[in-house]
């Protein structure tokens, strides 16, 4: 067996591991974003059915501050937009990395086969 092939296999395995760990963190982030999205959607829904004269407070530190309902609603909507953007960005990245991962696994598999072939002869 050639040392070169071994090195290549090692390098590829390391690369695969780093891709995999990045995917794991991204998926975790994506889940967090999803729960944020859900919470904000619930708040948005609540604001939509609220009377325009309803008193809305915002928690700033330990105090509740009275806020215009329209302003609060616009805020939440903006946040929703932002979170959706973030989610689609995470999705794209995950998709890309998954493809990367597949490619790397195939390469590693090929290298392993080659090494095994060399071993046998």
């Amino acid at each position: 067996m050639s040392a070169e092939q071994r090195k290549a296999l090692e390098a590829q395995t390391m690369a695969l591991q780093s891709v995999q760990s990045e995917i794991t963190t991204l998926v975790g982030n994506r889940q967090k974003l999803e729960s944020q999205l859900q919470e904000n959607e619930l708040v948005d829904k609540e604001f939509k059915i609220l009377n325009d004269s309803a008193r809305v407070y915002k928690m700033i530190g330990p105090v509740l501050v009275l806020q215009e309902k329209a302003e609060a609603g616009a805020n939440v909507e903006k946040r929703l937009e932002f979170i959706r953007d973030e989610i689609s960005r995470a999705d794209q990245r995950i998709e890309q990395l998954t493809k990367d991962q597949e490619k790397k696994s195939v390469e590693i598999f090929k290298l392993q086969m080659e090494l095994q072939g060399v071993n046998k002869v």
């Binding site: 919470e39 619930l42 309803a54 008193r55 939440v76 598999f109």
Partner: protein, 176 residues
């Protein structure tokens, strides 16, 4: 060798969701088993969280019910921190301020607040039900997987025995 070639075939069919479990090698099945276990753990965790959330909403509802006309003007202790209280007087039993999430609080009448919490409780209940259904489904496939693994394991053992028997008769050539 045979397990490696099936793995390659599997990588090619990776997009195909309807792979027959019986065709997969044991190592692959073990991975699926671990994955299923993880999913089941996560789902049961989510289920208990749902139950906790529901209990919290029920408690809120109970507190609103405690705001009866008789309790008006009664002295209460208001917690400033976990360990510091100041005396206060209950001057308003009509309106409450409800946490609607993400740092926003809305002033609601008692009836509105109760219907808000009822809706929340139902929402959480529906989620819990969905989770429960998924858990049951996953558990069924988990059991199926275990059965297949058991079957494969006995099959493999039998094959090994046969191979050992054949190996004694023809010691060479089996590796090719």
């Amino acid at each position: 060798m045979s397990s490696a070639s099936t793995a390659a075939a599997n990588a090619n069919n990776g997009k195909n969701q309807t792979i027959n479990l019986e065709d997969l090698p044991l190592t692959q099945l073990q991975k699926i088993k671990a994955q299923l276990e993880e999913e089941l753990n996560g789902l049961t965790g989510a289920f208990s969280q749902m139950k906790q959330a529901q209990a919290a909403f029920r408690e809120c509802k109970g507190c609103i019910d405690a705001l009866t006309p008789e309790s008006l003007d009664k002295t209460i202790m208001i917690p400033l921190t976990n360990s510091l209280y100041v005396p206060g007087k209950l001057s308003n039993i009509e309106n409450v301020v409800v946490d609607v999430g993400t740092g926003y609080y809305v002033e609601k009448s008692k009836d509105d607040a109760i219907s808000y919490y009822d809706a929340k409780i139902e929402y959480v209940q529906n989620n819990a039900k969905t989770i429960q259904d998924t858990v049951e489904q996953k558990q069924a496939s988990y059991r199926g997987l275990l059965e297949i693994m058991q079957y494969k394991l006995t099959q493999q053992q039998q094959q090994q025995k046969q191979q050992q028997g054949a190996g004694k008769q023809a010691a060479t050539g089996s590796r090719a």
